[in-house]
């Protein structure tokens, strides 16, 4: 089975840390992986995206064809909409609800959310708030990953293992916090899908 994911956000929001965790999870499940990143100029506050593909079979293209992403995982609501042409008919759009406003013409957030709700399969989650509830705002990206995790063809245990590996150097407390964040995100989706 194959999962194609478009990760979206703004330069500096740390989408590559989500990508790294998915990468570890894919390795743990013995899956093939291709992950295309954006480095350079756009990282300075511009829109950034990462195409991530995991599969049992060999993967040809580093880029996901339009209309075939299984998941758009966005840490910023307006950015989730920028990649809609990539989403497959039955794909899921999972986005954080907190806007990142660094442009003067950022649209009304209610209008953005209304647009997102037009998508058949969507999850809107206040990941910052959930992360803050157990005292670690920095784990909001992992909450997001947890919220998208039910839509991957990767077992949940592999994500947990990925987190243990990624945060291994930072000690047990950090690992535990991020595992909590992952589960909290997943619980939210299970209740709201």
């Amino acid at each position: 089975m194959k999962t194609d994911i478009v990760l979206a956000g703004v330069g500096g929001q740390g989408i590559l840390s989500i990508a790294a965790t998915i990468g570890m999870a894919a390795l743990h499940s013995n899956l093939q992986l291709k992950q295309s990143e954006v480095h350079g100029m756009s990282q300075r506050g511009g829109d950034v995206q990462s195409h991530m593909r995991v599969s049992e079979k060999e993967i040809a293209s580093d880029l996901i064809p339009m209309g075939s992403a299984d998941i758009i995982l966005s840490v910023e609501p307006m950015e989730s909409l920028r990649y809609l042409p990539f989403l497959s008919k039955d794909g899921w759009l999972v986005t954080n609800s907190t806007p990142f406003i660094n442009i003067t013409n950022y649209p009304n957030i209610e209008d953005v959310l209304t647009e997102i709700k037009k998508i058949k399969n969507h999850i809107i989650i206040d990941a910052d708030k959930i992360a803050e509830e157990f005292g670690s705002k920095r784990s909001s990206n992992i909450v997001m990953l947890g919220a998208a995790s039910p839509f991957f063809n990767i077992p949940f245990e592999s994500f947990e293992e990925g987190i243990r590996k990624i945060f291994a150097r930072k000690g047990d407390d950090v690992i535990e916090t991020n595992l909590k964040a992952l589960r909290a995100g997943r619980d939210y989706t299970e209740k709201n899908r």
């Binding site: 954006v38 829109d47 996901i64 209309g67 497959s88």
Partner: protein, 537 residues
Amino acid sequence: MQKLLLLGDEAIAQGALDAGMSGIYAYPGTPSTEITEYVQASKFAKENSIHSMWSVNEKTAMESALGMSYAGKRAMVCMKHVGLNVAADAFMNSSITGVNGGLIVVVADDPSMHSSQNEQDSRFYAKFAMIPILEPANQQEAYEMAYYGFELSEKFKLPVMLRITTRLAHSRAGVQPFSLKKQNENSLPTDLRQFVLLPAIARRNYKGLLNSQSGQVAESENSKFNSYIDGSDKSIGIITTGIAYNYLMENFQDKKLNFPVLKICQYPIPRKDVMKMVGECKKIMIFEEGYPIVEEMIKGYQESGTPVSGRLDGTLPRDGELNPNIVAKALGFETKTDTKIPEIVKNRPPSMCTGCGHIDAYSALAQALSEYSEGRVFSDIGCYTLGALPPYNAVNSCVDMGASITMAKGAADAGLIPAVAVIGDSTFTHSGITGLIDCVSENSPVTIIISDNFTTGMTGGQDSKALGRIEDICIGVGVHPDHIKVFKPTKKNMDEMVQVLKEELAYKGVSVIIPRRQCIQTMKNKTLGDKIKELGL
């Protein structure tokens, strides 16, 4: 050996390390930066004294690598495509000197200009220099080509170009490494005049280069990186170069591919395979990432043979990066979606970070320039180029590394006085100093702002060769010390900054103004912090 999860850039670095490379030389440039950074971070490289310090620019990097090759060791030099313009003199002549130890020139092109001023295709340079090119389709090949490239270079006694594009440079996949080779021992060239390009020797060497061409073609024809996959449907023969092969195969994940396919990843192009395809197929379709260089070669000037389609006849867009959908369209396949980006989505261009010192320098400059007419600020390549965008609208040019100072001089020569240059510290040492000497020698009425943030910022905070040296350099090349002014660009210092700028703008000679404050992205870099303290900056 265990598989490694590597960016294309990192795969090249690992391949070079495993092949016994003794040194890597580079100036940071997206999308090539991570190759050198990988070697800098490698414990193995440190333990084995493999050179990996940044060079001041691509030309010095190219020349140092050539020097290492002269001394018998395997060397790699890395740059982005426009960096090869800077290194071009050394690069072109390196194909005439030839090499001793293996020499790989890695050039990362940026089609679609994700982070560049143009999308020039470096394969033209390699063709110009008449040397082999390796162009990987995936991360594994990137590794293997770095590994094999040194042998190829030593076999032909020529530098070899390894050409990648942004997509492969910055995409990660599993890579299976090979066994480790030892570094070469020091050894001088058998002929101690091989590298002396006096006309008589250069003519002899050039004949050698010309004579090697047929051998290079034969090497390509037998290369494991080139393959001819035959097919029963000869209505179209498909040629792919480099990463374009993946986009073709992506379109045949759920259908059978019956067309013959020639996958080219090593150049000169494998002549026999091309002739076979042209002879057997009714039509040729070419997918290549970059300029239509193979397409032009096969099409020929008269276009009288087998029809060739690609970027030149509109089958593919003439510019920009390829992707699976562009290839699908060329093949006549339907796209799975007609969804558009909703109108509510606004552009989000890159911008200078909140709290960046460049912003305060630009604010002061805008105030100081308010009494002059607009359109007199020449900028350069770096984060401060983003001052061209709203709300700043602060600069009027961005051309190439160092061009701010020399363009300001030329404009001043034409009577646009005062003319202002804005350049970063790292760009100043890369290519600004020579232009400054031009200004000093004529005492041109230019105000040069060297916005010093102690780093090469745009590419991610690499070392700046200018650290702690800017004033000494300026005085050394003849700028009068009274017209070198330093201040800390902050909101609090705004009045002082504006005053200094006004005075120097009024001065009819060369002024250098140095707004100096650490890049906020590097605040966590302890080594840099200690160095700044030690230098008292």
